[in-house]
Amino acid sequence: MNYPIWDLTFGGGLLIAVVAVTHVFVSHFAIGGGLFLVLTEKKAYREDDTALLAWLKRHTKFFVLVTVVFGAISGVGIWFTIGLIHPAGTSSLIHAYVWGWAIEWIFFFLEITAALLYLYGWNKLDRKTHLWLGWIYFIAAYLSMVIINGIITFMLTPGNWLKTYNFWQGFFNPTYFPSLLLRTAFALALAGIYALLTGTVQKDPELKGKIVKWSARWIIPAFIVIPFFAWWYIGNVPEIVWESARGKVPTATRYANYILVFSILTFLFSLATLIKPKKVPFVFSLLIFLTAYGTMGSFEFIREAIRKPYIIYDYMYANSIYKNQFPGDGGLSIQNIQQEGLLAVSKWTAHKEITNDNQLEAGEDIFLLQCQSCHTVDGYRGIRKVLVQNQWSQAGISRRISSLDKMFHAVMPPFAGSAAEREALAAYLAALAPLDPDAVETAETEISGEAVFEFHCSDCHEYAADDTLFTGMAKYDVAQISYLMTRLDSLDEEMPPFEGTDAERETLARWIAEQFK
């Protein structure tokens, strides 16, 4: 709206996900790995183990090449990418937390310098100075997480910031500490997981066994405490938000299942390395690496998914529209756009008015402005597939657009725009997936209560005993339910009228009356 939209056909969300997940998997290693380097160096001195020391020197090079190069550029990369996909959200984060970012930058600067000096120091420094540099590295790296964790958790649980706009109230928000501990534990685990990669290629079985055992001591305890921190974290996420990951929103639920599988596998595989530590093949360490990647990636996906429909919870929707009207919002609040119209408020649209001739093009503009921050036509979260599958008429699409914020556990923001704009969007979407006459016929000939429920009700209602549809209808008989369905808007003014045939209505009424008895 305020900014142009980068029309990325495969999906901006996917691009962010790829850059971000890869980055965090390296950046957490950069933190835990720092402590690993120092403690392993001390261990090697204590045990007077020159072989371990020589490996650690090589591991440092690997560490620097992965974290200082890939980690640093992909970190800047997230910033570049979110600025391209969510400029308004990025601007909010920058403005609210400039000094947070600036402080993180100080630590980042120290971190990078210390990492390089630690690497080059292997050939130059005495043990004490070298270890000192390692400690500076770890402390600076950890402190950079202390800062960025405040800003990331702010996005999900801004807490009192929403009322006061106070830096610290947003920073030390309800999920700050559980998230910090969760990330700390994961960072320590990753130190061991990456060490397995370089450790298992060692030829000397004694050295290899030692590294594997030492690495496992980083991974296993971390994976034992992670569930506790996760539990604490979940406890601080508002219940309604967390419900998204408990079956109410497909994406969040899917990744909540993945994270369980991946983390258990990572834990079990890491335990398995202790059976014959001298014989762990590289491929096995790679397997642990990949399951850990799955764990971390799932965590980030859950966090992003449960935050939907917001980019900053209760402040800005994922499509950059402000939730509430306030001075200086540039007219970009949902209320104002609903009053004024999306195209009128938007700066970056080719069509400012809808006419009979431009309805489809204007509809496309509306899709781009309002939907494309999460959806694409045929790529990531592609909309065409959904439309083809469901065979909704244009009127059906329009009706669903009116109740976007009721669908799928309110994962989408309400539609912001005028009635004409809603129709234009519906026309554009309908044109993406012209109705298949065969499919319509099939739908008409095979009437089952469940199918009618799926088709007409399931966008907003769940098949669950506690859903308002089933609790509300429990006291009525079939005839009464069937009658009520002819005047749904009298039950709740936001409900659209029932659009099915009389036969479908009768079938649905019978089916509803039989459920959850």
């Binding site: 980068w6 020391l53 600025g83 391209l84």
Partner: protein, 371 residues
């Protein structure tokens, strides 16, 4: 579509510190970034050229071997020091900056990919034991070329950011982000201005390496100072041509800023011209001496001052370009005093710790761990 109607509305959050502080930090951190970037790019380019095209000169081959290991760390410093001005420019000029990046989204995104390749390329060269092996000079040159492209995309973005009048046509012609700012008449001279300056300032990496080697081997050190000095002089002479081209390519109002319209801009330009001439003169005399150290220090010092003024000139130019649409100095301010103080305290501690690290690394008597 009117230019002003498409410029995004300001972020509703006020500036969390006075405008002048952000401006100071922006110009200061940009200066640091650009100097280190010049060392990395210019120094790397000179090294690559010496390594590839002066095969017969043993000293040039040594120069290559001595300089290339420094480039990855300089790239690390360039990126790290680049973060701060990028942050502050987004604070002050976010609505212009983000819009420009989105219009040329793919080149802007490619910056990351190019940086990554260049970075690993530099490391391949730096870590390679046998630097005379075939192809290693080319890896260096190709990596430098990637940085060259990054610089071009940066110039494109920052000129595009300052020309809102061209946005609409570009964006509505192609919303997929495959734009550059080729139609901008100042783009090429501006980019060349930065490029040539990079070589001039980058030569200081060679000269400084010479200066620090002087006590160990004066002959080779003198060669480095002379070679660096030659690159400096030729680049700075070229700059007079490129600089004039850049100046006359500017829109009239912007150009007049440097012709008395704006005192700071005019003085900066004057210092640039006089400083440049003085530095060339001192360097050309100096490198004929047996001991060119003092003149080399002088030429570098003068150039350092010139670069500071150039950074300020660049800022005046941006303000002039954007003045029809926006004045950052009029942005509402609500200082986050407690966090600002914390930043300043940590900034000072950060500098001290950094200096201590450097001191302990370079000045601790060598006692190798492995010995």
């Amino acid at each position: 579509m009117g230019t002003e109607t498409i410029i995004p509305a300001l972020d509703p959050m006020p500036l969390p510190a006075p405008f002048w502080l952000f401006k100071l930090l922006l110009v200061l951190t940009f200066f640091l970034h650009i100097v280190v970037m010049n060392f990395m790019f210019g120094g790397g380019l000179i090294a690559a050229f010496s390594g590839l095209f002066r095969k017969k000169n043993e000293s040039d081959q040594r120069l290559f071997k001595d300089i290339v290991p420094k480039i990855p760390s300089l790239l690390a410093a360039t990126i790290t020091l680049g973060i701060a001005p990028l942050l502050f420019v987004q604070v002050l000029y976010g609505q212009f900056f983000y819009t420009a990046t989105i219009i040329m989204a793919w080149p802007w995104f490619l910056v990351l990919v190019l940086l990554m390749f260049a970075y690993y390329g530099f490391y391949i060269v730096a870590l390679k034991q046998d630097k005379t092996s075939r192809g290693i000079g080319w890896v260096m040159l190709i990596s430098i070329f990637f940085i060259f492209l990054v610089g071009f995309f940066y110039s494109s973005n920052f000129t595009l950011m300052e020309s809102p009048a061209t946005w609409s046509a570009k964006y509505f012609q192609d919303r997929s982000g495959w734009n550059l700012n080729g139609s901008e008449s100042t783009l090429i001279p501006r980019f060349l201005h930065f490029l040539v300056a990079s070589v001039a300032v980058g030569s200081f990496l060679i000269i400084l390496t010479g200066l620090f080697r002087w006590k160990q081997e004066a002959d080779y050190a003198r060669f480095l100072i002379v070679r660096g000095g030659q690159w400096f002089m030729y680049a700075t002479m070229t700059q007079f041509v490129v600089g004039i081209w850049f100046l006359i390519s500017l829109p009239r109002e912007a150009m007049l800023q440097f012709m008395g319209g704006n005192m700071l801009a005019t003085i900066s330009l004057l210092i640039g011209v006089v400083g440049g001439l003085a530095a060339i003169f001192i360097m050309s005399n100096g490198i004929r001496n047996d001991d060119p150290r003092t003149p080399a220090w002088w030429a570098m010092g003068i150039t350092g001052v010139v670069v500071i003024f150039m950074a300020m000139m660049r800022d005046v130019l941006r303000t002039a370009y954007l003045s029809p649409y926006f004045k950052a100095s009029e942005l509402p301010v609500k200082t986050q005093l407690d966090v600002l103080i914390l930043f300043l305290v940590l900034f000072v501690i950060g500098i001290l710790v950094w200096a201590l690290m450097i001191k302990r690394y370079f000045f601790t008597p060598s006692a190798k761990i492995t010995e």
